[in-house]
Amino acid sequence: MSNVEATTDNRTASRWEQLFDRSTRELLVGLLFAAPYLVLFSVFLLYPLLKGLYMSLHEWNFLEPSKSTYVGLENYARLLEDPAFWNALWNTLEFVGMTVPLIVGVSLVLALGLNKELKGSRLLQFVYFSPYVLTVSVVGIVWAQMFAQGGVGTQYFGWLFSGSPLNSKFWAMPVIVVTTVWWQAGFYFAVLLAARQNVPERLYEAARLDGAGPWRMFRDITLPHMKNALLFVVIASTIFQFQVFGQPYLMTKGGPVGNTETLVYYLYELGFQTRELGFGAAVGYTLLLILVGVSVLNYVLVGGNDE
């Protein structure tokens, strides 16, 4: 890349000025500043991205990559006929479909409720945010224990489940959803709280004089002001939740009978258990395409940038 040249040229200023005109020099200097990120981006994002695409077009040989054979779109065709893939896709959609609305709803309610300067609202802000600082392993293990056979949660909700809900085809996914909402909502709550606090109080005063009640104020002032933040929360949490892996891995191992096996979990199984790296890469790429599609759809539906 050209940033290497830029450093050598920089030492002899006069020659460097002779060699390049002003705009080229600015470009090179700019690249030099961008270099640290560009290097990291290339090594850890661009290369794996392209390598993944390359792998997804091959019958990949795990032990001797040079012996991999090019198969074109065969992996993708196989994927469409793979019931395990469809199961994982369905489970992922189910998870996202439950988690995202809950996260948005819970974080919005918390943000609106804790916006007021009441006694203890600072403490509550801290309390609600704090689960987010935990890693998925801590969250997963704690909640798995809570809802294991004989766990606190299992006993407490004994009237609801018979035995551990993590072994129930019906309850395993909802428990993972609740775990995720508990873990993640704090972050989106902080984002929405910041957005809510940016709404000028004067507008609410003007609205009160105009005769607006709480619902009108929410609809006509709060919501329009928080639209961009809400859009961010919806898109960011959707993209993040589509990649769910840690919770089912730690809590259910994708079970019972594949009922909580998500796309990334399936991808992990293909890669690290059956060693079908080419096919796994095809699953990964399909997930990427889905996410791009979801983001565009989200933006079009919720965004509608009219300002």
């Binding site: 003007a206 009160r208 009108r216």
Partner: protein
């Protein structure tokens, strides 16, 4: 109708430093159709008082009535008031038309056609007829101000409340909007309470002025009254630009003794001062425009010219003698040289003598309603 009666109204806030009294026992009547300005420095409680009339602040004590209804516990939208905010508080996501019709939609049962007609009439009156479909962010400051005023007018309220509505505009536009607001108020004859920290706005627009300081009323009166007969040093200082000259003096045998000057005053004035004074520590006050350089025989004071400011029709002389500094307004054609010694006299009818401790004006004309303690004033 729109008569406002404010009776012994108090506003207290709890803070870490204890209870803060923002408005302290204020009583005031605003006549129907009157343009009343509340003026005072930052933190004087003027906005709080206005917001209590609007219903945006709770009233800690006392009573506010609009016409004959006690409004203490009536919601803002039911008080028959409309307010123009300092930063306009236009709804940014709504067009000008929606901004103006919002209150009518929510508080009246007028039909869409009637609302549309009223909004368009008001917009025409405010000169914003062609902006109705724009969003506030696409308007200039002056246009936003017009929309904010129009939003209040279209409601046809009993009372307009203005909270420093012109302070975000540049000087030229502010002057223009000042006359505009006066024109509208005269046309509509709606009772208006106008809060500002700008004494020029207060002097030029109002039927009467209320001067507020530290949450208490200092004086209520017409612009001419508060200018000519300020009841205390605070009012004298606050009203008028540039502000009044003040000098620490003592009175002995009809002569005022300052640090660097002495000046004989007529015996009747000296008698009034002696009668009213509680101590020997006095403050002499005279406005720059009342100091006269045509001395013709009266007692004079001399001082050296430090700075001469040309302001077109007027010149301002900044004079000093020892530690005593004088500001004097003279005609724009009068010629003085820097460093020159200027002699001037102080016409007794324009002299104010204040008690140094209480600030009370000792020579104020009788009949001026005033209360230095600010406990209660009704004019």
């Amino acid at each position: 109708m729109g008569r406002i009666t404010i009776d012994n109204v108090r506003k207290e806030y709890d803070s870490d430093a204890g209870t803060i009294r923002a408005v302290d026992d204020v009583s005031l009547n605003v006549q129907d159709g009157e343009f009343l300005t509340i003026v005072g420095p930052s933190g004087s409680g003027k906005s709080t008082l206005l917001r209590m009339i609007a219903g945006l602040e709770d009233i800690t004590g006392g009573e506010i009535r609009i016409d004959d209804t006690v409004v203490n516990n009536i919601a803002p939208q039911n008080r028959g008031v409309a307010m123009v905010f300092q930063n306009y508080a236009l709804y940014p996501h709504m067009s000008v038309r929606q901004n103006m019709s919002y209150g009518l939609k929510l508080t009246t049962d007028l039909g869409d056609d009637e609302i549309r007609r009223r909004v368009e009439d008001t917009a025409e009156m405010m000169g914003i007829g062609d902006l109705l479909d724009k969003k506030p962010n696409n308007l200039s400051g002056g246009q936003q101000q017009r929309v904010a005023t129009g939003r209040a007018i279209v409601r046809q309220p009993d009372v307009f409340l203005f909270d420093e509505p012109l302070s975000n505009l540049d000087a030229k536009l502010r002057l223009h909007m000042r006359t505009e607001l006066q024109r509208i108020q005269e046309e509509l004859e709606t009772t208006s309470v106008y809060v500002t920290h700008d004494q020029t706005e207060a002097m030029t627009m109002s039927d009467r002025i209320v001067i507020l300081n530290d949450g208490t009323i200092q004086q209520v009166g017409t612009p001419a009254e508060v200018y000519a007969d300020p009841v205390n040093k605070f009012v004298a200082d606050f009203i008028g630009s540039p502000s009044m000259n003040f000098f620490d003096v003592s009175l002995d045998d009809g002569v005022l003794y300052g640090d660097d000057f002495e000046y004989a005053i007529p015996s009747d004035l000296a008698n009034v001062v002696r009668q009213n004074a509680r101590s020997d520590d006095l403050v002499l006050g005279i406005r720059p425009e009342h100091v006269t350089v045509d001395t013709d025989g009266a007692d004079t004071v001399a001082a050296t010219l430090d700075v001469l400011e040309h302001e077109g029709s007027d010149n301002y002389l900044y004079l000093s003698e020892g530690d005593t500094e004088w500001t004097v307004r003279v005609d724009g054609n009068t010629r003085f040289e820097w460093g020159e010694t200027v002699e001037f006299s102080l016409p007794p009818e324009h002299l104010h003598v204040f008690d140094a401790e209480t600030g009370e004006n000792l020579v104020v004309d009788e009949g001026v309603t005033a209360d230095v303690d600010g406990s209660s004033v009704t004019a």
